[in-house]
Symmetry: C2
Subunit: 767 residues, 2 copies
């Protein structure tokens, strides 16, 4: 579609949105975004501005040490340390938060100070009454110093505007040693350099979640400094001809505790604006990024540019009807889905690769931050549907990562030129296969397959070689052996699907055999997945509710992981003795008393031992649909949508994990979900929208309508797909790939004849 | 000259050299080079191979902690730690020594161990009997392990060949935390990466003499490893599924104490060769450098290539007649002159600039390591004469440094993308002005002048602003105030010369006024240079023999620095009351009892308070020539040449300082010296060669002959310049700029009428 046409459509859609809502409804989709959602409690999102998939995320930090404040901002905190340039959205582990800018009045302070005594440092008390966050914009009053801070952001560069009171002693401090997870991670080195009287560049190297993360920044100030200081370990960097035996420049310094102070005398309400950009390559590139993206001092113009970008992104799914609360929830979820993977290349096309070398992204835009254990489930399948070009960029980025990997592995959990090895499995595979099989173009399928197969056959990685030989990962050789076995088996199903499509029949057979490995860990005496050692002996004693870091299960219990066979639910049902027994067992999951002391703090949203706050749960409710009891899924899905999502800061019950919690919301709201990425079908749940239009990646539109829609009408009575009656819970991708319509008719009571006799026809042989 | 012609000439010259010497005399000029010269005691040179001005210098390190072992190798040591890739030639401060390679047999050791117990570490005893160093080649037997190590080097890459005994347990270790000055400097970070089964890359960041020096290496091994290990803090980097909660690659690691072990089972006399290269930019560039420079495994071929390069360089001055000892001394001095400034850019043209950014050297080859306080004196003037193209590269490198300087300063003492601020003055200025005025082409004169003037007017640097205002650097505001004043005044003379040439008359006047500032510190009551405070009061009490780090004088005494007025010796003579008094005072300098406890250990070559081992002495003997007593200079110069230079490891009496000690030898041997770089004249001393031919930068030849040449015939009887009788001690550059001849007639007694009435006609007004 040509941009003009797109714009016309957007305008129309916006009007539609506007007319459908209340009189107060905003006219622009981006105005429904509520950046505070997920900032209180477990969500680990941040409230500051960012462009879609942007490289910078300017946002206030209230904490840099607590594990639970992974985005740097916790809504319950009452003071702000300052504003840093980069943030992770919803991860379980804190990182980034690079380079803190903080305006000060009076004698500058060089440390943040504790939360209970913010006055001991540069920390400032704030109140949510005098704070706002909207798309591309954040504003807060720093109460103790009477300074208003405003932030906006483009792709690689952002702006901060600080409005000062009248004072002889104002300064804008940059703390180069600021980054998140300061208690655990280490700043290796930093330097700062005054380029001219209104330009500064700096650098730091962090040994954090990734083993070495290089980041440079450049900042231009709207007013030349009246004076400037570099502080190192609390002392001004200055040449003293007697103390310093040799000359020392006051315009640059290197070390591990550096602050830069831009000092001013200000009049009342004087605004000083700082433009800043980052680069992983050099200060010169950060300056190029800055000057290319923000050539003027137009703060409001940049904010509007970014809003317009979000309008366009939000337009990919048009929620034609809905309450303001629902629209806010929905578009905020979309917003969170489009936070990551992040752009990670300079305007020159250069980026720092996994091998630390400087590469040129040729034919794609390099992206980083792949939280794949989470996002392969629904976020990437959502991209497959509505962000195919971006998904191709991401896949090309993953292939570049593979090329650069000393271990010849696709990313596991990659973070800006680093592999964190976080979590288990090789879930790059389902991302690529799902995209490939659903027609995403723009990457080389043979090259992709070579990377996929090499990854799945790696002799060193996490017990894969033994798994290939034995058919399971033995617990006496490897921790999290049950989760690894189950996840490898799913990933292998995906490898097999691509092998089949490429005519690699031997590979297909090999990986389909591996895809059935889950059977090796199903213990018929307990009806659960259970660890097995290299001699083939079961884990004894066996506590199926045990949650143990480094045990047999990854962030969960055997009861939770037993359901992890997305590639062959019928096979699992059969192992369990049929649909009735399977459903009854599933019922049990939701009725166990949740043990509050079990698991991790940030996994909430607990219904029995179903913990929606973590990803292993995400496909589980949909399993009822395979077992002939879709109405149970319908009721539970709507319950979770209603009780575990919303438009409030505390509306997320677990880490958003770079959009996976949110992508679950989007799919589930629309009435279907990719239980098995890499297959050709979705599973129909229960729609929570009355009328929505998805603009698919190919430009076609998929309209979703719910007749007789009401909060209490959670049960599907009937379905039309492309105007044909549809009596299956399984929705093939090909049915909607070229757009069309899905019309649900809803009611307050289950229609126990709809969908109950569905037969899964997957495009592959069952494992 | 076309290469073929040059080659033909070289061959002829080599033959000439061969015929002139004894029957054992080598046929190639490069074979006269004795790399061990200066490795014992103060010289601080290294014995390993390097290409002319090369980026790598592969050499054994015997020490990494002692200040006095600045090149890593001290001839008196009896054990070798290993072989590292980069070395400084003759500096007073240890640095570089990056990445140590050491073959081992048996259980690998990870620390070097102490000198008195080498068996406690990987250190190996060696004997000079089983060690050799020649041009482009070094070989040593590691006695305890029966391994022979051989080294050769190209520009950015080198090779090591290790010949092992038969063993199941051989390894080649790379210690990434090795660098020189380990006791004082700090390794900030390092990483290593196994690229494939015979290729490794690595990196370290050093906070050393320069604040942050980045270096990458790449190594390819002639045989794939049987196995490999990365060691971090003494432990193998390996994935242990129970100890490591998440996967950990065994193919890469980052940290501060890393070793890489390439492990082999070897048969008797099995040679394993390693090719290695460096880059300041990336591992990828190091690999490019490696593969471009050393495409094959031909160790001997590379050695021969480098010998041929040195033959060419040595051919710039043809010592047609001379004893083997003299030729060895002479060509080794040439060799040391052509060690630095070093090439500092990759084959891609990229280099890391002073601003840490990656730059492309356009139109020049970037060089680093500028020991300017030393080398402006004679090394660069030698380059002006016979290495003009290289000098232009260096000047363009200095101008790039200026462009990249946060302080808008030309280099003071620059080290590979860093400014060390070592020593005083702004001696980039005489280097550039000397080259400019003597016709070196290839740099932009207006751009150069702008850099020169801005540097000389810097408001922050080392008291320059106060000096500009008062006419001296006051000792109550600045240490080394006397040396700074005197050196600034000389540098300012040079600024003025260039200003005059460019028609900038106001600048000329301003800087010529500053060039006379030395007069402000001449104390007529003592007849010496003496500190003055900002009120104009003399330093009291005043000890003219005081040597005090951080006192009024830089590495010297008032008695030594009083002679530092190269730009206006007649003016100094006049201040001192005329030539007789001046000469008598100069006589005194050579007769003081040297106080052994005074000064620095590495400043030797002491004759009274004349300390030839440090640069402030280097022009002093020549001052007799200005005062009508050239025969005193003649005798003393020949004495120093004979007693303080030679072909033995201990033949240097002070730090060679990147070739300055050696350049003094070259000029002085040839019979003239650039007492005042930036002027248009040399001062004639006493030639120590019978017949030499300089091939000037413009291809013309200058022939120097000494009639009646003999060891004892140190006195000039008469001189012909271009066949004209020459009765002046001053030799204008223009007389020899297009080649020609200087014919000295020597005798055992002074001819007190030759040269005694010389009048200095400088091309400038006197200051």
């Amino acid at each position: 579609m040509k941009p003009q046409i797109l714009f016309a459509r957007l305008t129309l859609l916006m009007l539609a949105g506007s007319l459908a809502g209340s009189a107060q409804t905003p006219a622009r989709l981006s105005d429904f975004i509520r950046p505070f959602v997920g900032t209180k409690g477990e969500g680990n999102t941040y409230p500051g501005p960012a462009a879609p998939f942007g490289m910078v995320q300017l946002s206030p930090d209230t904490d840099r040490e607590l594990w639970d404040t992974a985005s740097g901002y916790e809504y319950s905190d009452t003071s702000i340390m300052g504003f840093s340039l980069s943030h992770l959205s919803g991860t379980g582990i804190p990182d980034l938060g690079d380079f803190l800018f903080m305006p000060q009045v009076g004698e500058p302070k060089l440390v943040a100070g504790p939360k209970d005594h913010p006055e001991a440092g540069y920390r400032a008390p704030f109140s949510h009454d005098q704070e706002q966050a909207s798309t591309g914009y954040y504003k807060v009053k720093l109460l103790d110093r009477n300074v208003t801070a405003e932030l906006t952001a483009g792709e690689r560069a952002g702006m901060m505007r600080f409005t000062f009171p009248e004072t002889d002693k104002a300064c804008i401090m940059t703390d180069l040693q600021h980054f998140l997870n300061g208690a655990k991670f280490k700043l290796i080195w930093s330097h700062v350099r005054v380029e001219d009287s209104s330009t500064v560049t700096g650098f730091h190297l962090i040994n954090g979640w990734g083993k070495e993360r290089y980041l440079y920044y450049a900042a231009r100030y709207s007013r030349p400094f009246d004076s400037h200081k570099i502080m190192s370990d609390g002392k001004e960097v200055v040449y003293d001809s007697f103390k310093n035996y040799r000359f020392r420049s006051r315009n640059e310094a290197a070390g591990t505790n550096l602050q830069f102070l831009a000092e001013y005398k200000t009049h009342a309400d004087e605004a000083i604006t700082v433009k800043m950009a980052v680069s992983a390559i050099s200060a010169a590139n950060a300056l190029k990024n800055l000057d290319a993206e923000i050539p003027t001092w137009d703060f409001d113009g940049l904010r509007e540019q970014t809003r317009a970008k979000w309008d366009k992104e939000m337009g990919r799914i048009q929620l034609v009807e809905g309450t303001p609360e629902q629209k806010e929830t929905f578009y905020t979820a979309m917003y969170h889905c489009f936070q990551a993977p992040n752009l990670y290349q300079d305007v020159t096309g250069e980026y720092r690769g996994l091998d630390s070398n400087i590469h040129n992204a040729e034919g794609f835009q390099n992206h980083a931050v792949f939280s794949l254990w989470d996002t392969y489930r629904a976020t990437h399948p959502l991209f497959t549907l509505i962000q195919a070009d971006k998904d191709a960029d991401m896949i090309n980025s993953m292939l570049a990562h593979y090329d650069q990997s000393a271990d010849h592995l696709l990313p596991v959990w990659s973070l800006q030129g680093n592999e964190t090895w976080c979590m288990v499995g090789y879930h790059s595979v389902p991302v690529i296969v799902d995209a490939y099989l659903k027609g995403v173009k723009g990457f080389d399928k043979e090259r992709a397959y070579e990377a996929i197969k090499t990854t799945a056959m790696n002799p060193d990685h996490d017990g894969v070689a033994t798994y290939d030989k034995l058919g399971w990962v033995p617990f006496d050789q490897e921790n999290e052996s049950v989760s690894k076995t189950l996840e490898y088996a799913f990933d292998d199903y995906c490898v097999a699907q691509m092998a089949k499509s490429l005519g690699k029949n031997d590979d297909y057979a090999h990986f389909m055999k591996r895809a059935a490995s889950y059977k090796n860990l199903y213990d018929p005496t307990t009806g659960l997945m259970r660890g097995k050692n290299s001699k083939g002996e079961w884990r004894t004693p066996f506590d199926p509710h045990l949650f143990e870091q480094g045990g047999d299960i990854t962030e969960g219990t055997s009861w939770q992981y037993t359901w992890y066979v997305p590639q062959d639910v019928p096979g699992l049902i059969s192992l369990m003795g049929g649909k009735e027994k399977f459903s009854a067992k599933l019922d049990e999951l939701f009725t166990f008393g949740a043990n509050a002391s079990q698991g991790l703090d940030d996994i909430q949203g607990r219904i029995g031992e179903y913990w929606h706050g973590n990803e292993p749960a995400h496909h589980v409710i949909y399993l009822y649909c395979y077992a002939g009891q879709p109405w149970k899924a319908q009721e539970k899905l709507r319950h979770v949508l209603k009780t575990q999502y919303g438009n409030k800061p505390d509306s997320l019950t677990g880490n958003d994990d770079c959009g996976q919690m949110s992508a679950w919301y989007i799919f589930t709201s629309l009435g279907f979900y990719p239980v098995c990425p890499g297959s050709d079908y979705y599973v129909i749940g229960s729609p929570a929208v009355k009328h929505a239009v998805m603009r698919l990646s190919n430009g076609k539109e998929l309209t979703i309508k719910s007749e007789n829609f009401a909060d209490e009408n959670v049960y599907i009575q009937s379905v039309l797909v492309n105007e044909k009656p549809w009596n299956s819970v399984f929705l093939p991708h090909r049915e909607i790939a070229d757009g069309g319509s899905i019309v649900f008719t809803m009611g307050p009571q289950p229609n126990k004849s709809w969908g109950t006799a569905s037969t899964l026809i997957d495009n592959s042989t069952k494992p």
